[in-house]
Amino acid sequence: MSRISIGLLAGLVLVAGVPVAAQAADPVGKFDGATLSLSRWAGDPWTAAQVKSADAWNAATGGKLTVDAIPYENLHDKQVLEMSNGTYDIMYVHPSWFGEYVSAGALLPIDDLLADASANPPGFSKNDYLPSVLSQGASGGKQYCLPDFVASVVVAYRKDLFDAAGLAAPKTLDDVLADAAKLNGKDGIAGITLPGKKTGATADVLGSLLTAYGTWWYDKDGKSSLDVDAATKAIDFYVKASKFAPQGILNYHFDEVATAAAQGQAAMAVSTTVSLSWVEDPAKSKTVGKWAYAPLAVTADKPSGELIYWNWCINAASKNPKAAYSFLQYWTSAAQQGAVAKVAATAGATKAFYEDKDLVASLPFLPALQGALQNANAQPSLANWSKVQDEIELAVQGAIEGKTSPADTAKAIRAMLDKELGG
């Protein structure tokens, strides 16, 4: 997979007056008596929203779709175990699992269904999706999945603390470090918080930093291509930022980062737009309304990030593929994603999502997200990425703990990538 520019995403929002693509909000098809099971991670408001959508889909189609939501940390294992017996018809597939699922023949190609007029709303085509995001669910010339949950890694900063200290909004990574140093320890608050746990979060943040510094794990052929000098700078940022972070970040996933920020434990937070929605949730946050967001950038004119997304895929062993596709199409529509976005700080993957001016205006995180996605690489989806990601995060933890220097860490990661991906 090559470097992906997602300027299109930002551009779409600026396209005024373009007629919104016709995409009916109602599910397509009748599936009386068909019973389906959907596998996803557990977490509200997403799960609750999806259960609601499943109920609506059931009522409209006569099918019976149940949602099996389990913790993210166990989702991959459960899906792998249940894959071949057809327990799940629809699976929420993380990018890092997509490659291995496809190579195992576990996912059903949906090109025919995408092109079937009887399976889609009037006027619908695959072109309704953002091409750069839709392509993440394709492999070997076949489309397997439909995307949703568009997000990226950004910096959130406390406006009140910045104003009180006379600091301007951070525009570059150097600004972030300088501001973190100045604010660290004031009133017992850490300068910045960011994840350091081996759960994928650390790789996501480092991936975003790598993109900002102009390199990526691999080239368009999937071969190791990491520039060691650029990676050294990215890891150096990680290590320096961690010096101003609260204790315990080596056990911090995005959830813990967002919790620390929401509870007023840090002046800045590097995390996903999704998890940062917590800081604006009065039920979870003591710091509602005090935050602003900015993309990561080495130079102010080149904001960068990582395209974070999830894929909705149909199990190759599903006995109801057409019904499963009907729900996929329904759930990833602009109408459904728009409803979720307002409460979950995610964005959809259809063009119509960004053409809804009222919707866009109601999403405060969107400018930073769009900035980040102007220069973004998508989360890796190679067949053996799970193991590679583990090794990357292990190396970064070693650098944060001071066991290895950023330069040696970058070299070690490059050597590991050469071995696992081929150089």
């Binding site: 081996k198 509870q263 193991k387």
Partner: protein, 299 residues
């Protein structure tokens, strides 16, 4: 019919074997067959997601990888440290507390009930409990330390140095009651005459504890060692919930290492070899204790 056969028939031996046979067959099917199949699978290179593709024969390749795998060496060392550390503390603490309960004249039942509470909580919940109790920002320990004028909590789960001792602490908290229960039961079996004789001889508290009680409950000590050694050697759930083997590989254990190779990296052949290794080594540990128990006529 030979006299010997007639004798077996008469004394019911054959009937006994016949009645036992279904259970033996059942155990064979449910335990020995899967075990044998696991050993066979450990000789192949195959991925979990590739169930329908031919498995590649590697012979002892997975076992050679096992010998040369630094990750496994680290997990093995962590596991042994965890086992020796946790079981030793549990045994010593268990003996001290069991002794205290044994000498209680009032409230012994209540004390036993309270002591056993940690054991009835599922390990996953116990792990979550400790995760949040020791959270350096929000945990109750941090709050108390701050209230006492300190600077917040100690970063146990995010520290390579402290995470493994932290896991031992959780295990000790949950399973010392098991040691107390077994040792206390052993103490209750000591005859009163021994204590009376000691009192006549003027033996003090410590002398009674170490010269009468401890030697008398050695079989119970061995039972505690047997069960807790096996359990701690196979530790998985607590580590999975609390640290997932991190930071770095500081808390990676054999159970977690096997799980990761099987269900994260999907290398099932290698995971099977690791399982066989785990089974063989835990069998070895058990054999030592069982031999000691046999010597004492306990088995």
């Amino acid at each position: 019919m030979s006299p010997r056969r007639a004798s077996r028939l008469e004394d019911g031996t054959l009937l006994g074997y016949a009645m036992l046979a279904p259970a033996v067959v059942l155990v064979g099917i449910l335990i020995l067959l899967p075990l044998a199949y696991s050993v066979v699978l450990s000789l192949y290179d195959w991925k979990l997601l590739e169930m329908n593709r031919p498995k590649k024969w590697t012979g002892l390749g997975n076992y050679w990888k096992l010998i040369t795998d630094d990750g496994l060496h680290n997990a093995f060392i962590n596991t042994v440290i965890f086992m020796v550390g946790a079981v030793t503390v549990e045994l010593v603490l268990g003996f001290i507390i069991a002794l205290a309960v044994f000498h209680m004249t009032q409230g012994r039942r209540l004390a036993n009930a309270i002591i056993l509470l940690p054991m009835v909580i599922t390990p996953v919940i116990t792990a979550l409990l400790w995760r949040y109790m020791l959270d350096p920002q929000f945990g109750i320990v941090a709050q108390v330390m701050t209230a006492l004028g300190g600077h917040g909590g100690i970063d146990v789960w995010g520290s390579s140095m402290l995470a493994l001792p932290g896991l031992m602490l959780v295990d000790v908290w949950q399973w010392t009651p098991f040691a107390i229960l077994i040792l206390h039961a052993g103490m209750l079996g000591i005859s009163e005459e021994q204590f009376e004789a000691a009192a006549v001889d003027g033996a003090g508290y410590l002398r009674v504890a170490f010269s009468i009680i401890l030697p008398a409950i050695i079989p119970q000590v061995l039972i505690v060692l047997l069960f807790r050694s096996m359990d701690t050697y196979r530790i998985f759930d607590t580590v999975f919930v609390l640290t997932r083997g991190g930071p770095g590989v500081s808390t990676d254990t054999l159970g977690l290492f096997t799980f990761r190779n099987g269900f994260s990296y999907l290398q099932m052949g290698y995971a099977m070899a690791l399982s066989v290794f785990l089974l063989a080594t835990v069998g070895l540990i058990s054999a030592v204790y069982i031999r000691l128990l046999r010597r004492r006529g306990m088995l």
